[in-house]
Symmetry: C2
Subunit: 152 residues, 2 copies
DNA sequence: GCTTAATTGTAGCCGTGGCTACAAACGGGG
DNA sequence: CCCCGTTTGTAGCCACGGCTACAATTAAGC
Protein backbone atom coordinates (compact mmCIF):
# COMPACT_ATOMS: atom_id res chain seq x y z
CA UNK A 1 0.00 0.00 0.00
CA UNK A 2 1.73 3.13 -1.21
CA UNK A 3 1.49 6.06 1.09
CA UNK A 4 2.18 9.53 -0.21
CA UNK A 5 3.59 10.66 3.09
CA UNK A 6 5.03 14.13 3.23
CA UNK A 7 6.74 15.21 6.41
CA UNK A 8 6.30 18.75 7.54
CA UNK A 9 8.17 20.62 10.21
CA UNK A 10 5.16 22.65 11.20
CA UNK A 11 2.29 20.70 12.62
CA UNK A 12 -0.69 20.73 10.33
CA UNK A 13 -4.04 19.45 11.43
CA UNK A 14 -4.52 17.51 8.23
CA UNK A 15 -1.26 15.57 8.25
CA UNK A 16 0.52 13.40 10.77
CA UNK A 17 4.22 13.36 11.60
CA UNK A 18 6.23 10.50 10.13
CA UNK A 19 5.79 7.14 11.78
CA UNK A 20 9.38 7.19 13.01
CA UNK A 21 9.11 10.66 14.52
CA UNK A 22 5.86 9.91 16.22
CA UNK A 23 7.08 6.61 17.60
CA UNK A 24 10.16 8.33 18.90
CA UNK A 25 8.08 10.93 20.75
CA UNK A 26 6.00 8.30 22.46
CA UNK A 27 9.09 6.34 23.40
CA UNK A 28 10.59 9.45 24.97
CA UNK A 29 7.44 10.03 26.98
CA UNK A 30 7.43 6.42 28.16
CA UNK A 31 11.04 6.49 29.26
CA UNK A 32 10.47 9.77 31.10
CA UNK A 33 7.60 8.13 32.92
CA UNK A 34 9.83 5.25 33.94
CA UNK A 35 12.15 7.56 35.87
CA UNK A 36 9.43 9.83 37.24
CA UNK A 37 8.89 7.77 40.35
CA UNK A 38 12.57 7.67 41.20
CA UNK A 39 12.79 11.41 40.76
CA UNK A 40 9.84 12.04 43.05
CA UNK A 41 11.27 9.85 45.78
CA UNK A 42 14.74 11.37 45.52
CA UNK A 43 13.41 14.89 45.79
CA UNK A 44 11.10 14.07 48.66
CA UNK A 45 13.76 12.22 50.62
CA UNK A 46 16.13 15.11 50.18
CA UNK A 47 13.46 17.57 51.30
CA UNK A 48 12.58 15.53 54.36
CA UNK A 49 16.19 15.22 55.44
CA UNK A 50 16.60 18.95 54.92
CA UNK A 51 13.53 19.97 56.91
CA UNK A 52 13.02 17.14 59.39
CA UNK A 53 16.54 15.86 59.75
CA UNK A 54 15.57 12.39 58.56
CA UNK A 55 13.47 10.59 55.97
CA UNK A 56 11.37 7.81 57.42
CA UNK A 57 9.41 5.42 55.21
CA UNK A 58 6.05 6.21 56.80
CA UNK A 59 6.51 9.95 56.30
CA UNK A 60 7.52 9.35 52.70
CA UNK A 61 4.45 7.18 52.22
CA UNK A 62 2.10 9.74 53.76
CA UNK A 63 3.48 12.56 51.64
CA UNK A 64 3.20 10.54 48.46
CA UNK A 65 -0.26 9.36 49.34
CA UNK A 66 0.59 5.66 49.14
CA UNK A 67 0.73 2.83 51.65
CA UNK A 68 3.95 2.35 53.57
CA UNK A 69 4.43 -1.01 51.89
CA UNK A 70 4.42 0.64 48.49
CA UNK A 71 6.91 3.24 49.68
CA UNK A 72 9.24 0.59 51.05
CA UNK A 73 9.12 -1.33 47.80
CA UNK A 74 9.94 1.82 45.85
CA UNK A 75 12.77 2.64 48.23
CA UNK A 76 14.13 -0.81 47.48
CA UNK A 77 14.14 0.12 43.83
CA UNK A 78 16.00 3.35 44.61
CA UNK A 79 18.60 1.27 46.42
CA UNK A 80 18.88 -1.11 43.48
CA UNK A 81 19.48 1.87 41.22
CA UNK A 82 22.19 3.21 43.49
CA UNK A 83 20.30 6.34 44.49
CA UNK A 84 19.61 5.62 48.14
CA UNK A 85 20.79 3.58 51.09
CA UNK A 86 19.14 2.38 54.27
CA UNK A 87 19.75 -0.08 57.04
CA UNK A 88 17.09 -2.13 58.70
CA UNK A 89 14.79 -0.01 60.85
CA UNK A 90 16.83 3.12 60.18
CA UNK A 91 15.91 6.04 57.98
CA UNK A 92 16.57 6.41 54.28
CA UNK A 93 19.53 8.34 52.92
CA UNK A 94 20.55 9.42 49.46
CA UNK A 95 23.80 8.46 47.81
CA UNK A 96 25.76 11.24 46.11
CA UNK A 97 24.06 10.23 42.86
CA UNK A 98 20.68 10.41 44.55
CA UNK A 99 21.46 13.80 46.05
CA UNK A 100 22.51 15.11 42.66
CA UNK A 101 19.32 13.82 41.12
CA UNK A 102 17.30 15.47 43.89
CA UNK A 103 18.94 18.83 43.28
CA UNK A 104 18.36 18.62 39.58
CA UNK A 105 14.74 17.65 40.07
CA UNK A 106 14.12 20.34 42.65
CA UNK A 107 15.57 23.06 40.43
CA UNK A 108 13.52 21.80 37.50
CA UNK A 109 10.37 21.70 39.58
CA UNK A 110 10.78 25.31 40.61
CA UNK A 111 11.44 26.44 37.08
CA UNK A 112 8.31 24.71 35.84
CA UNK A 113 6.17 26.19 38.60
CA UNK A 114 7.57 29.66 38.02
CA UNK A 115 7.04 29.47 34.30
CA UNK A 116 3.44 28.38 34.75
CA UNK A 117 2.86 31.26 37.14
CA UNK A 118 4.57 33.63 34.72
CA UNK A 119 2.12 32.79 31.95
CA UNK A 120 -0.86 33.29 34.22
CA UNK A 121 -1.49 30.05 36.10
CA UNK A 122 -2.32 30.35 39.79
CA UNK A 123 0.33 29.25 42.26
CA UNK A 124 -1.86 26.42 43.51
CA UNK A 125 -2.66 24.99 40.10
CA UNK A 126 0.95 25.45 39.06
CA UNK A 127 2.14 23.35 41.97
CA UNK A 128 -0.31 20.60 41.20
CA UNK A 129 0.31 20.48 37.46
CA UNK A 130 4.07 20.81 37.81
CA UNK A 131 4.15 17.57 39.76
CA UNK A 132 3.20 15.72 36.61
CA UNK A 133 4.68 18.02 33.99
CA UNK A 134 8.20 18.31 35.33
CA UNK A 135 9.16 14.78 34.42
CA UNK A 136 8.59 15.48 30.74
CA UNK A 137 10.46 18.74 30.38
CA UNK A 138 13.63 18.28 28.32
CA UNK A 139 16.88 20.12 28.91
CA UNK A 140 16.25 22.32 25.93
CA UNK A 141 12.81 23.29 27.15
CA UNK A 142 14.24 23.90 30.60
CA UNK A 143 16.78 26.32 29.15
CA UNK A 144 14.03 28.09 27.25
CA UNK A 145 12.04 28.44 30.47
CA UNK A 146 15.05 29.88 32.31
CA UNK A 147 15.70 32.33 29.53
CA UNK A 148 12.09 33.38 29.39
CA UNK A 149 12.11 33.98 33.13
CA UNK A 150 15.22 36.13 32.79
CA UNK A 151 17.50 33.67 34.54
CA UNK A 152 19.50 32.61 31.54
CA UNK B 1 11.66 42.44 35.67
CA UNK B 2 12.73 39.12 37.06
CA UNK B 3 11.14 38.58 40.39
CA UNK B 4 13.31 39.66 43.25
CA UNK B 5 12.44 36.48 45.04
CA UNK B 6 15.71 34.92 46.09
CA UNK B 7 16.57 31.30 45.52
CA UNK B 8 19.00 29.12 47.37
CA UNK B 9 19.52 27.49 44.00
CA UNK B 10 19.30 23.85 44.95
CA UNK B 11 18.59 23.76 48.64
CA UNK B 12 15.62 22.07 50.23
CA UNK B 13 12.68 24.38 50.84
CA UNK B 14 12.39 25.85 54.32
CA UNK B 15 9.08 24.12 54.77
CA UNK B 16 7.23 21.57 52.76
CA UNK B 17 3.60 21.75 51.75
CA UNK B 18 1.25 20.03 54.14
CA UNK B 19 1.18 16.27 53.99
CA UNK B 20 -2.38 16.34 52.70
CA UNK B 21 -1.63 18.85 49.95
CA UNK B 22 1.44 17.05 48.82
CA UNK B 23 -0.25 13.67 48.80
CA UNK B 24 -3.08 15.15 46.81
CA UNK B 25 -0.70 16.48 44.16
CA UNK B 26 0.94 13.12 43.70
CA UNK B 27 -2.42 11.41 43.52
CA UNK B 28 -3.48 13.81 40.79
CA UNK B 29 -0.32 13.10 38.83
CA UNK B 30 -0.86 9.34 39.18
CA UNK B 31 -4.44 9.49 38.02
CA UNK B 32 -3.47 11.66 35.06
CA UNK B 33 -0.91 9.06 34.12
CA UNK B 34 -3.51 6.34 34.28
CA UNK B 35 -5.57 7.98 31.54
CA UNK B 36 -2.61 9.12 29.46
CA UNK B 37 -2.48 5.94 27.43
CA UNK B 38 -6.17 6.02 26.62
CA UNK B 39 -5.85 9.63 25.52
CA UNK B 40 -2.92 8.86 23.25
CA UNK B 41 -4.75 5.99 21.60
CA UNK B 42 -7.95 7.97 21.13
CA UNK B 43 -6.15 10.86 19.52
CA UNK B 44 -4.08 8.63 17.27
CA UNK B 45 -7.04 6.56 16.14
CA UNK B 46 -8.96 9.71 15.34
CA UNK B 47 -6.00 11.11 13.42
CA UNK B 48 -5.53 7.91 11.44
CA UNK B 49 -9.18 7.73 10.48
CA UNK B 50 -9.03 11.36 9.44
CA UNK B 51 -5.92 11.06 7.30
CA UNK B 52 -5.91 7.44 6.14
CA UNK B 53 -9.59 6.64 6.28
CA UNK B 54 -9.08 3.83 8.76
CA UNK B 55 -7.18 2.91 11.92
CA UNK B 56 -5.54 -0.49 11.74
CA UNK B 57 -3.86 -2.05 14.77
CA UNK B 58 -0.48 -2.45 13.08
CA UNK B 59 -0.40 1.20 12.03
CA UNK B 60 -1.35 2.24 15.54
CA UNK B 61 1.40 0.02 16.93
CA UNK B 62 4.03 1.39 14.55
CA UNK B 63 3.14 4.99 15.35
CA UNK B 64 3.25 4.38 19.07
CA UNK B 65 6.48 2.45 18.82
CA UNK B 66 5.11 -0.69 20.44
CA UNK B 67 4.48 -4.23 19.28
CA UNK B 68 1.17 -4.96 17.62
CA UNK B 69 0.27 -7.27 20.48
CA UNK B 70 0.63 -4.44 22.94
CA UNK B 71 -1.49 -2.18 20.75
CA UNK B 72 -4.23 -4.78 20.51
CA UNK B 73 -4.27 -5.24 24.27
CA UNK B 74 -4.57 -1.50 24.77
CA UNK B 75 -7.32 -1.28 22.19
CA UNK B 76 -9.14 -3.93 24.20
CA UNK B 77 -8.89 -1.63 27.20
CA UNK B 78 -10.30 1.25 25.14
CA UNK B 79 -13.23 -0.97 24.26
CA UNK B 80 -13.73 -1.93 27.90
CA UNK B 81 -13.82 1.77 28.76
CA UNK B 82 -16.40 2.47 26.07
CA UNK B 83 -14.12 4.64 23.96
CA UNK B 84 -13.67 2.42 20.92
CA UNK B 85 -15.25 -0.43 19.01
CA UNK B 86 -13.91 -3.02 16.62
CA UNK B 87 -14.94 -6.28 15.05
CA UNK B 88 -12.65 -9.18 14.43
CA UNK B 89 -10.13 -8.45 11.67
CA UNK B 90 -11.70 -5.06 11.00
CA UNK B 91 -10.31 -1.67 11.84
CA UNK B 92 -10.78 0.25 15.04
CA UNK B 93 -13.38 2.98 15.47
CA UNK B 94 -14.13 5.48 18.17
CA UNK B 95 -17.42 5.74 20.00
CA UNK B 96 -18.90 9.21 20.40
CA UNK B 97 -17.24 9.34 23.81
CA UNK B 98 -13.94 8.35 22.26
CA UNK B 99 -14.27 10.93 19.54
CA UNK B 100 -15.01 13.63 22.08
CA UNK B 101 -11.98 12.61 24.08
CA UNK B 102 -9.84 12.71 20.95
CA UNK B 103 -11.00 16.22 20.12
CA UNK B 104 -10.27 17.45 23.59
CA UNK B 105 -6.85 15.83 23.62
CA UNK B 106 -5.95 17.16 20.20
CA UNK B 107 -6.90 20.71 21.11
CA UNK B 108 -4.97 20.46 24.35
CA UNK B 109 -1.95 19.07 22.55
CA UNK B 110 -1.90 21.99 20.16
CA UNK B 111 -2.26 24.52 22.94
CA UNK B 112 0.63 23.00 24.85
CA UNK B 113 2.87 22.93 21.79
CA UNK B 114 1.99 26.49 20.90
CA UNK B 115 2.64 27.74 24.40
CA UNK B 116 6.02 26.04 24.53
CA UNK B 117 6.93 27.60 21.21
CA UNK B 118 5.67 30.97 22.43
CA UNK B 119 8.06 30.95 25.38
CA UNK B 120 11.01 30.06 23.20
CA UNK B 121 11.10 26.28 22.78
CA UNK B 122 11.84 24.97 19.29
CA UNK B 123 9.00 23.37 17.38
CA UNK B 124 10.71 19.99 17.43
CA UNK B 125 11.40 19.94 21.17
CA UNK B 126 7.92 21.31 21.82
CA UNK B 127 6.35 18.42 19.95
CA UNK B 128 8.41 15.86 21.83
CA UNK B 129 7.89 17.34 25.30
CA UNK B 130 4.22 18.06 24.72
CA UNK B 131 3.61 14.36 24.22
CA UNK B 132 4.40 13.80 27.87
CA UNK B 133 3.35 17.14 29.32
CA UNK B 134 -0.14 17.39 27.87
CA UNK B 135 -1.58 14.70 30.08
CA UNK B 136 -0.81 16.72 33.18
CA UNK B 137 -2.18 20.08 32.16
CA UNK B 138 -5.31 20.94 34.13
CA UNK B 139 -8.29 22.83 32.77
CA UNK B 140 -7.26 25.93 34.64
CA UNK B 141 -3.75 25.83 33.25
CA UNK B 142 -5.18 25.22 29.81
CA UNK B 143 -7.30 28.33 30.08
CA UNK B 144 -4.27 30.31 31.21
CA UNK B 145 -2.35 29.07 28.17
CA UNK B 146 -5.17 30.07 25.82
CA UNK B 147 -5.38 33.49 27.37
CA UNK B 148 -1.64 33.97 27.20
CA UNK B 149 -1.69 33.03 23.52
CA UNK B 150 -4.44 35.53 22.91
CA UNK B 151 -7.09 32.93 22.23
CA UNK B 152 -9.13 33.49 25.32
C1' DG C 1 -8.68 -21.03 -6.76
C1' DC C 2 -4.47 -21.94 -4.18
C1' DT C 3 -0.61 -20.59 -2.02
C1' DT C 4 1.58 -17.38 0.56
C1' DA C 5 2.60 -13.05 2.84
C1' DA C 6 0.75 -9.73 5.85
C1' DT C 7 -2.32 -8.71 9.30
C1' DT C 8 -4.88 -9.68 13.34
C1' DG C 9 -5.65 -12.00 17.43
C1' DT C 10 -4.34 -15.10 21.61
C1' DA C 11 -1.43 -16.95 25.25
C1' DG C 12 1.75 -16.39 28.48
C1' DC C 13 5.83 -14.17 30.58
C1' DC C 14 7.95 -10.11 33.02
C1' DG C 15 8.65 -5.79 35.87
C1' DT C 16 6.25 -1.95 37.97
C1' DG C 17 3.58 0.10 41.36
C1' DG C 18 -0.56 -0.06 43.69
C1' DC C 19 -2.91 -2.71 47.75
C1' DT C 20 -3.97 -5.68 52.29
C1' DA C 21 -2.55 -8.71 55.79
C1' DC C 22 0.71 -10.29 58.75
C1' DA C 23 5.28 -10.44 61.18
C1' DA C 24 9.19 -8.36 63.37
C1' DA C 25 11.64 -4.68 65.65
C1' DC C 26 11.76 -0.56 68.20
C1' DG C 27 10.66 2.57 72.04
C1' DG C 28 7.86 4.58 75.92
C1' DG C 29 4.86 4.22 80.05
C1' DG C 30 3.44 1.85 83.77
C1' DC D 1 11.50 -4.72 82.63
C1' DC D 2 7.81 -5.82 80.16
C1' DC D 3 3.95 -4.79 77.40
C1' DC D 4 1.82 -2.30 73.78
C1' DG D 5 1.47 0.90 70.15
C1' DT D 6 4.09 2.58 66.28
C1' DT D 7 7.13 1.82 62.80
C1' DT D 8 9.37 -1.07 59.60
C1' DG D 9 9.62 -4.91 56.81
C1' DT D 10 7.75 -9.18 54.16
C1' DA D 11 4.47 -11.89 51.49
C1' DG D 12 1.33 -12.22 48.21
C1' DC D 13 -2.42 -10.38 45.42
C1' DC D 14 -3.92 -7.42 41.33
C1' DA D 15 -4.03 -4.49 36.93
C1' DC D 16 -1.24 -2.41 33.62
C1' DG D 17 1.64 -2.20 29.73
C1' DG D 18 5.60 -3.89 27.76
C1' DC D 19 7.36 -8.26 25.19
C1' DT D 20 7.80 -12.95 22.23
C1' DA D 21 5.81 -16.88 20.23
C1' DC D 22 2.25 -18.98 17.96
C1' DA D 23 -2.43 -19.42 15.78
C1' DA D 24 -6.01 -17.76 12.83
C1' DT D 25 -7.69 -14.94 9.25
C1' DT D 26 -7.52 -11.94 5.44
C1' DA D 27 -5.84 -10.35 1.15
C1' DA D 28 -2.81 -10.51 -2.74
C1' DG D 29 -0.26 -12.85 -6.68
C1' DC D 30 0.03 -16.22 -9.82
Amino acid sequence: MPKSKSYKLVAAPADLPSEADQAHRFEKARSAQATALLEDYAELISDLIGTEGEARPTDIARRLGVSHATAIKSIARLKREGLATSKLYRGVFLTPAGEMLARRVRARHRLVVDLLVAVGVSQEAAEVDAEGIEHHVSEETLRAFAKYLGRA
